[in-house]
């Protein structure tokens, strides 16, 4: 608490942060009291300015930075291809126009989602290929989303980084990227608040995404891998969630929003395990693409990478 003297004894650390965060707009008397206090206490005034500066910088870093500010090597690491970049300006203009008319979902439906240039790469370290293990502390909660970073290393896929894309001030899509030594790529989009249309009908891989929802999140997996492989990865993902509730894997068509090509055979519900390392869990049995039982971590793992 920042109790400096009797006059301002109500001004606390909470007040200063709430003032810096602009959360007191409905309390003008409190704002006035804090401002009076700050005029008398330069040290705390500097603190508040620093907190506001932090917010501005974070917003700029994660939400508003144009792609030109992302170093080339980061763009390459996150898969920005020259072919896409050539169309970036036009695509962005189309996306803005579509957003203005129909909202972001329309732009995404039009395929511009994959050309949007405002994806924000996170930090230098993430540009390097890294293997994240399910038992590590790496989690998307780092980025304010309580979704554990999935470990697909059992399928030969290594985590290579992630990006965010702000749909609105309150809605951000996370894009987790994985790749294996054979050049296969997987992108998992994590979108909070599934009560709005948000998904793409096609992607950079020319396939319909494999999509499902859980809690307040919708997940959409894009890859050049076949549908059944993405289904396996989806189950690995759900099994690794620390607060896993039984995963309600749904055919994409069951989700609200734009129609998405339906999965031929919707997978059955897999009970969440809440476990950590996949290798320490008994393999889950679920129907394969032809209805056969396929254990995760069984034959697929024994045969090497998931292909």
């Amino acid at each position: 608490m920042t109790i400096r003297d009797g006059i301002y004894d109500e001004v606390s650390e909470i007040d200063l942060h709430a003032y810096a965060d602009g959360l007191l707009t409905l309390q003008p008397d409190r704002v006035r009291r804090i401002e009076d206090y700050l005029q008398q206490h330069a040290e705390d005034r500097l603190k508040v300015e620093a907190y506001r500066r932090q917010r501005d910088l974070i917003c700029h870093a994660y939400g508003n930075a144009p792609s030109s500010e992302i170093p080339t090597r980061l763009r390459e690491a996150f898969g920005y291809r020259k072919a896409r970049r050539r169309n970036a300006v036009a695509a962005w203009a189309v996306a803005i126009a579509a957003t203005a008319l129909l909202g972001v979902p329309a732009a995404m439906m039009a395929g511009d989602f994959w050309n949007v240039t405002s994806w924000t790469a996170y930090d230098d370290e993430r540009a390097q290929p890294a293997t994240a293990t399910a038992s590590s502390t790496v989690s998307m909660v780092d980025d304010a989303v309580p979704v554990a970073l999935p470990d697909f290393s059992s399928a030969g896929l290594n985590y290579i980084g992630h990006e965010t894309y702000k749909l609105t001030t309150k809605r951000t899509i996370w894009r987790l990227r994985y790749a294996d030594a054979a050049g296969n790529e997987v992108e998992l989009l994590v979108t909070p608040r599934p009560n709005e249309p948000h998904l793409v009908s096609r992607d950079a891989f020319g396939q319909s995404p494999y999509s499902w929802s859980r809690g307040e999140f919708v997940f959409s997996m894009h890859s050049n891998l076949p549908l059944e492989s993405r289904e396996v990865l989806a189950r690995i993902f759900e099994a690794q969630q620390p607060h896993a509730v039984p995963a309600q894997l749904q055919p994409p068509g069951a989700l609200q929003g734009p129609a998405i090509n339906a999965v031929q055979k919707p997978p059955e519900t897999v009970p969440g395990t809440g476990g950590d390392a996949l290798s320490s869990q008994p393999p889950h049995i679920f129907p394969g693409p032809e209805g056969d039982a396929v254990p995760i971590g069984g034959p697929l793992q024994a045969d090497g990478p998931l292909l």
Binding site: V141, D143, T169
Partner: protein, 89 residues
């Protein structure tokens, strides 16, 4: 001033500052980083942030306050190391 430029700084310096902020953020413990980023990007109340993170409101506030102070110190250190850009006319 370009739309994306931060106020009070030349664009190049602002860019360096943004990079410093990203580095500083990733030096924080994840539990402190989460509410800071959430508050900054989502502009939610502390109570909403607590709900989204699944932790009590008091915990959000204490992590936020500690994290911001740590960030402030990290940014001050970075600022001292940062070369000053001089405007040449």
């Amino acid at each position: 001033m370009p739309a994306n430029a931060l106020p009070d700084r030349p664009p190049q310096e602002a860019r360096v500052e943004v990079n410093d902020m990203i580095r500083a953020l990733f030096k924080l413990p994840p539990e402190q980083r989460a509410p800071i980023v959430l508050l900054a990007l989502e502009n939610v109340s502390y109570e909403d942030a607590a709900q989204m993170l699944g932790i009590p409101g008091g915990t959000v506030r204490s992590r936020l306050f500690r994290g911001r102070e740590a960030l402030r110190e990290l940014m001050e250190e970075a600022d001292e190391r940062r070369p000053r850009l001089r405007r040449v006319k």
